[in-house]
Symmetry: C4
Subunit: 177 residues, 4 copies
């Protein structure tokens, strides 16, 4: 499978990163930290961000640190059915970096829907989660077997910055101690 | 692989959930709780249930909480050979959600037999088990590699309810604390 | 992948179950117990056994409990090169159940060699081992990805006895407590 | 997938085994010990070694025990972009044993680049690493799913020495206690 990501044809899709879900998902703090880093890396490469939102009256608003980070940026689609697929905008770019929650539910459904629409989807395994670890792990294994690219935030960042010069590194790479 | 499940063409197959097997299988309590939830979700979508039963004189009757839950519902097939394949009814619907025990024995054999008969089989990894964890895990890995869909109960529930409206959610989704 | 094993066209291949290797391999006691059980099941179905042996002056004789179990039974091939492939007899049956040590070395090489010769090979994951757990696990994952059937002793036993009547079960199945 | 390695058409590629990276990578001590052993085995079969080096002013020089082991041997390519692919020499042999760091970054990129150039690449899972275990593991799983051969140092050594006579074994195999 071809693996090089063209940053100019890429978007970030954040699935249902909502406050009541964050309170229930295992390891949500780590996931939110990864998403924060993802948004920083997205800014480096001017990558647009799209957020999905499921029934906020039930699952709460989108996590406020994420909204603060985005400021005026980012587009949003809300919905009142579980599956995110039909609510996603039609005009997304070819490459999609997907993060959010829950891995086995709305994330998994968005991933398959987006691939059926012809996108190259990259699931960031360290930036997604479920309430139960078993749901999370089995869903990752299912998608990997179905040839979805299951990768991590840093591996995707190295793809985006593969040919970047050293001046960008300080913002792209974590500092070595 | 196409992944959306059509609830109107779906049945649940419960393999050998019998009392003496339950007493021996690792994590049987959790598996029975998952099967209980599976039967509730099945009721929401009017999904028929088929139970298999291996030599009850030896392996005991079907677990009584399951029989109570089913009441008059559910069809059954008993057998006196290990493999469940030949005892399963001929007229099952296209999509099958499979749970029960043991993962590496009768479940695995039923899965392969049903697929050879043309069914789309979904193995619910959190609702199956074996006496030994190694048998369970190696069998899941073998089936996944053979492109059986290995998923979890909740992921399947989200498929069935992908386009459901909010009124159904209270019965479909677990409550958020 | 077709999965039903025809016991009348099956042999057991035990790779290098030699005393000095057994002393070094992780979990050798459990592996030897599984091999003992494998030989009992083989007897039930009159399955022939072939043993390979690598440089006994260096790696020791074949484990004595196994030799006692086999009595006059079993054929053997010794060799003084690492790879077992060329030393295996030409006339093996179609289906081969493979156990022994080490998973990542002589077992792995025998598996690939035998498949290249057209055999349907079944690697019994709970009856093989390496000195280091990482070598063992990575080799299992590599073979599974290459579509070798990686299964367990009990799963194979259920295949052999899929249509067996109840009288055979007491000798085929472990007792339920 | 064909698996036998022809030692006369093989090279070792060591990716960015540099001091500041070694200080940050999980399990670097074990990885360096494996690489030391890899270089010894390479000498047995007269296998050339190529080292890559990323911005030494930032990531430090190549680990000194490795340089001492190589002495005058080994070729090197330095670079100032993250991806190692374009900096690798054009004339590498068909089979490549790859080790180094980080698994999910420069190693992963070199592996895919080299395969696109037509090489048979063998990733030595016990001789690569990342700072974070999750990055390492997800990258190994991604590459395995993409049919990169993910193996271990010892498994590769058994391939190289598959037909070797006993005199070589003392240098090829670890001593049995």
């Amino acid at each position: 499978m071809s693996w090089r990501i063209n940053g100019q044809k890429t978007a970030i899709v954040l699935v249902d990163v909502q406050e009541r879900l964050c309170a229930a998902v295992a390891g949500a703090e780590r996931i939110l930290a990864r998403i924060d880093r993802l948004l920083e890396i997205g800014k480096l490469f001017s990558i647009p961000v799209h957020l999905t939102e499921l029934a906020p009256q039930r699952f709460g608003p989108i996590s406020s640190p994420i909204l603060q980070k985005l400021g005026e940026g980012g587009s949003r689609s809300a919905r009142n059915v579980l599956s995110a697929g039909s609510a996603l905008p039609k005009e997304l770019p070819q490459f999609l970096l997907v993060a959010g929650m829950e891995t086995h539910a709305a994330v998994r459904q968005a991933i398959y829907d987006l691939r059926e629409r012809g996108h190259a989807v990259y699931l960031l395994a360290d930036a997604v989660g479920s309430r139960n670890a078993c749901d999370h792990q089995v869903a990752l294994d299912e998608m990997r077997q179905d040839r979805i690219v299951v990768t991590t935030l840093e591996a995707a960042a190295y793809e985006l910055g593969a040919e970047a010069d050293e001046p960008l590194w300080d913002r792209l790479l974590p500092p070595l101690s």
